[in-house]
C-alpha cells in the first residue's frame, strides 16, 4: 500500500512537472509586509488581476513576500530561480531589495523587472544590469518637474526636509543637482524618520533660513507631519511634496493643511483628467477600473500601477520571445531579455516606453504630470 502510494505520488509529480514545463512561470517578490507594506499590498493585489495566458501560453504568477527586507528578497529570488524555475523575476518593491537582487538574476541569466524607483537599479546598463528593467519613473524625472515648476513661479530659495533613509537621501541628491543647474538655492536640508512623533526641531531650523518654498520628500501619510507642523508654526511659503504621497490616505491625514500643495506624479491616478487624445488615458483607465472593481472605488495607487506596467511589458515581450524558444529554457530567458530591450512605443499606465540598450526604463516626460491639491482632491496643472 505504502509503495503504491509513493508510486502514485511520484507519477503525479511527474505529471505536474510535465504540465508546468510548457507554462511560463513569472516569479514575483514584493514587500507586502514591513515598512513598505503600503506600496507592496496594492502591487500584490494587482498580480491577481493579470492575464493568465500570454501568446497562447499559460502564465503562472508565483508571488512571495519579502517583508521589505533585503536578505529575504535575495532568498526569495534564489528560491524562485532554483525551485520554481521561473522565466522572469518581477520585484521588488523597494530600491535596496531590487539592488541586492541584481547579482542573483544576472548570475542566473534571467530577466528582472523592478517595481522600485531608484535610478541605480538600471543605470548604467552594464554586464549585470543588462538583465534588469524597471517600470517606475526615476526620481530625477520627478525632481526636474518640481524644479521647473518652482523656477516658473519665481521661487529662489528652497528648504528641503526628507526621510532619513534612501528615499530622502536619493531625492535630495537628485533635487540638489538640478536645482544647482537652474540657479535655485537650497538653504536648508533636514531629515526625519517615518515613525517620528515630532518634527518641530527640523521645522524651526528650516524656518530660520526663510526659504520661498519647502520640498517635503516622504512617502504616504508620514509626509503629512512636516507640512502640518510647518502650517502650525506659521510658515507662509509654497509647499511641494513628492510623488510618494499620491494616495488618498495622505489627503485624509493631511486634510486642510495640504491645500495648495504641488507635487509631480505618474499620470495613472489622474487618468480621467487626461486629454482624450492622450494614449496613456485608455491604458491607465483600464487598470484603474479593473483595480477599483476588485478593491473598491478610490483605492487605486500608483504603486499597483507599476506592477501592472511590468505585466504590460511582459505581454508585449513574451510573444516575441516565444518565436525563438520554449519557456523554461535558458534560450527563452535570453530571448525574453532581448525582447524587453527591444520594446518600442509601448503605452503603459504610467507613460510610453521606448527601451534601448542604454535605457532600461524608457520613459520620457509623458510619464509625469504636475498636480495641485485642491478642495481635498487632485487637480492637474499646466
Amino acid at each position: 500500500m505504502n509503495k503504491k502510494l509513493k508510486l502514485l505520488v511520484g507519477s503525479m509529480m511527474v505529471a505536474l512537472a510535465g504540465t508546468s514545463q510548457a507554462d511560463i512561470n513569472v516569479g514575483v517578490t514584493l514587500s507586502a509586509t514591513g515598512p513598505a507594506a503600503s506600496l507592496g499590498i496594492p502591487e500584490k493585489n494587482t498580480f491577481a488581476l493579470m492575464p493568465t495566458s500570454i501568446g497562447g501560453e499559460k502564465v503562472n504568477y508565483i508571488v512571495l513576500d519579502d517583508a521589505s527586507d533585503t536578505t529575504t528578497a535575495v532568498k526569495n529570488t534564489r528560491k524562485l530561480l532554483t525551485e520554481d524555475k521561473v522565466d522572469v523575476i518581477i520585484g521588488s518593491t523597494v530600491t535596496p531589495n531590487s539592488l541586492a537582487m541584481i547579482d542573483v538574476v544576472a548570475e542566473a541569466e534571467t530577466p528582472m523587472i523592478s517595481m522600485s524607483a531608484g535610478a541605480a537599479i538600471v543605470e548604467p546598463v552594464d554586464a549585470r544590469r543588462r538583465w534588469v528593467f524597471k517600470t517606475p519613473q526615476n526620481d530625477i524625472q520627478m525632481a526636474t518637474a518640481i524644479v521647473e515648476h518652482m523656477t516658473n513661479n519665481n521661487i529662489k530659495t528652497v528648504g528641503f526636509v526628507g526621510f532619513a533613509d534612501a528615499y530622502g537621501e536619493g531625492w535630495f541628491k537628485e533635487f540638489a543637482k538640478i536645482a544647482e543647474v537652474r540657479k535655485l538655492q537650497v538653504v536648508a536640508n533636514e531629515r526625519y524618520n517615518r515613525a517620528d512623533t515630532s518634527v518641530t526641531g527640523q521645522v524651526l531650523k528650516m524656518m530660520t533660513a526663510k526659504p520661498d518654498a519647502v520640498l517635503i520628500a516622504g512617502s504616504g501619510t508620514p509626509a503629512a507631519l512636516p507640512q502640518k507642523t510647518l502650517k502650525e508654526k506659521g510658515y507662509k511659503g509654497a509647499y511641494y511634496q513628492t510623488h510618494g504621497v499620491a494616495n488618498k490616505d495622505f489627503l485624509r491625514v493631511c486634510g486642510k493643511d495640504c491645500e495648495g500643495t504641488f507635487l509631480p506624479a505618474g499620470p495613472v491616478l489622474f487618468a480621467d483628467k487626461l486629454a482624450e487624445s492622450n494614449p496613456i488615458r485608455k491604458v491607465a483607465l483600464e487598470y484603474v477600473n479593473k483595480y477599483e472593481a476588485a478593491h473598491g472605488k478610490g483605492n487605486v495607487s500608483t504603486f499597483g500601477a507599476h506592477a501592472w506596467d511590468a505585466g504590460i511589458l511582459l505581454q508585449n515581450a513574451i510573444p516575441v520571445a516565444l518565436k525563438k524558444a520554449k519557456p523554461g529554457t535558458k534560450e527563452f530567458k535570453a530571448a525574453l531579455r532581448d525582447a524587453l530591450e527591444g520594446l518600442k512605443n509601448v503605452t503603459v499606465s504610467h507613460g510610453v516606453v521606448n527601451m534601448s540598450p542604454q535605457d532600461h526604463l524608457g520613459f520620457d516626460q509623458r510619464a509625469r504630470v504636475m498636480v495641485e491639491i485642491k478642495d481635498g482632491g487632485w487637480k492637474l496643472v499646466q
Binding site: 509586509t33 503600503s38 512623533t197 515630532s198 526641531g201 527640523q202 524651526l204 508620514p222 495622505f250
Partner: protein, 347 residues
C-alpha cells in the same frame, strides 16, 4: 538659535517626554512585578489611537475581533482546566463573564451604535474599554503559564508577542497612519510662544496619571500587594497575595497607560500600526535610566530623552535616533559602576 526657538524645542521635548514617561512607568511596573521586559507596551499606544481613529472613519476596529478571539481562547482554557479541578465554579463564572460576556457586550455596542457620532469623551472611553482588557488577556494566555521562567525566556516571549501584535496591527489598521481630532482647539500665547490646548492635555494627563499611580501604590491595598510582589515574590505569596492576580493587574495598568498615551498623542502626530515600537523603545531608554526599578528616575529619564530628541532634531536631524539611543551606553556604564551586580534569584 534664539530664545524663542529654545522655548519651542523645550515645549516639544517636554510633551514627548511626558508620553515617554508614562510608557517608562508602565515598563518599570511590569518588570518589577512580573520580571517581564514588556516590549509590546508600545503596541497599546498604536492600538488605542487607531481604535479611536477607526470609530471616526466609521470602521469597526480590528481590536474588537482580537478581544473576542482572545476571550474565546481563554474561556476554552479555563473550561478545560476547571473540569480537572474541583471548586472552581465561582472562578469559572468570573472568567467566562470577562472573557465571553464582556467582549460580546462591547461588540453589540460597537456594531449597533455608531460610536463615530458620539462625543469625543465617550469614544475615548469605548476605545479604552476595547484595548485595555487585551493587557490582562495577554498575561493570561502568554505569561501566566511561564510565570517562573527566567528573565531571558520572558524577554524572548515578549519579542514574539510584539511581532505578533505588530502583524495584527497591520492587518487591522492597514499600513497608512491616522490622526484624531484634538481634545481642545484652544491655544494660548506665552510671550512669543504659542501653547496649544492639546499640549496642556498631554502634560496634564501624564502628571495626573503619575500622581494617581503614586496614590494607588502608597494608599490602596492592591497597590501595596503589587509592591510586595515586586520586592519579594515568594514572600508576597506566603502572605496570601496571588502573584497571578498581581500579574494581571499590572498588565491591566500597563495596557491602560499605553492606550491612554496613544489617545493623547494621536491629535499631535500621525500614528501608524508600528509607531508604538519606537515610542515604546524610547520609554525603555528612560526606564533603563531608572535602572528598571525607580519610578522617579525613569520619569526624569523620559523628560531627558524627550528634550535630547527635540534639540538634536534641530541641530543634527539625520543623527537624532543615533543620539537618543546612544544615551543608553553612558547610562549603563554609570549604573554598572554605581550599583552592585545582584545575581538573579532562581526560584
Amino acid at each position: 538659535m534664539d530664545l524663542q526657538i529654545a522655548l519651542l524645542l523645550t515645549q516639544d521635548g517636554i510633551v514627548n517626554g511626558a508620553i515617554y514617561a508614562l510608557l517608562a512607568l508602565a515598563l518599570v511596573l511590569v518588570f518589577a512585578v512580573t520580571r517581564v521586559i514588556f516590549i509590546p507596551q508600545g503596541e497599546f499606544v498604536a492600538f488605542g489611537a487607531l481604535t479611536l481613529a477607526s470609530f471616526q472613519t466609521a470602521k469597526v476596529p480590528g481590536t474588537l475581533w482580537l478581544l473576542i478571539g482572545m476571550g474565546a481562547v481563554i474561556s476554552i482554557i479555563e473550561l478545560l482546566s476547571s473540569s480537572r479541578r474541583r471548586g472552581g465554579r465561582r472562578r469559572l463564572t468570573f472568567a467566562l463573564g470577562w472573557n465571553l460576556a464582556y467582549p460580546a457586550a462591547l461588540a453589540v455596542i460597537t456594531l449597533l451604535a455608531k460610536p463615530g457620532d458620539w462625543p469625543l469623551a465617550l469614544q475615548v472611553l469605548l476605545a479604552l474599554a476595547l484595548v485595555v482588557p487585551l493587557g490582562p488577556m495577554i498575561y493570561r494566555l502568554v505569561y501566566q503559564p511561564l510565570a517562573s521562567a527566567s528573565v531571558l525566556v520572558l524577554l524572548i516571549v515578549s519579542v514574539a508577542v510584539h511581532l505578533a501584535l505588530v502583524g495584527l496591527g497591520l492587518l487591522f489598521f492597514g499600513a497608512e497612519g491616522s490622526r484624531t481630532p484634538a481634545f481642545s482647539e484652544a491655544s494660548f500665547s506665552l510671550g512669543d510662544v504659542t501653547v496649544t490646548g492639546q499640549t496642556l492635555w498631554v502634560i496634564g494627563a501624564s502628571l495626573l496619571l503619575i500622581v494617581a499611580l503614586y496614590i494607588f501604590f502608597e494608599r490602596s491595598l492592591w497597590g501595596k500587594a503589587l509592591r510586595a510582589t515586586a520586592i519579594n515574590r515568594v514572600g508576597a505569596q506566603l502572605m496570601g497575595i496571588s502573584t497571578t492576580q498581581a500579574g494581571k493587574l499590572c498588565f491591566l495598568l500597563a495596557a491602560a497607560i499605553g492606550a491612554m498615551s496613544g489617545i493623547l498623542v494621536a491629535p499631535i502626530t500621525t500614528i501608524y500600526y508600528d509607531t508604538g515600537f519606537l515610542v515604546g523603545l524610547k520609554g525603555f531608554v528612560a526606564a533603563i535610566v531608572g535602572g528598571m526599578i525607580s519610578y522617579p528616575l525613569a520619569a526624569a529619564g523620559a523628560v531627558l530623552v524627550g528634550l535630547l530628541e527635540s534639540f538634536s532634531s534641530f541641530w543634527a536631524s539625520a543623527f537624532k535616533e543615533v543620539i537618543v539611543f546612544t544615551l543608553i551606553i553612558p547610562v549603563l556604564l554609570w549604573r554598572s559602576m554605581t550599583t552592585h551586580h545582584v545575581e538573579e534569584e532562581e526560584e
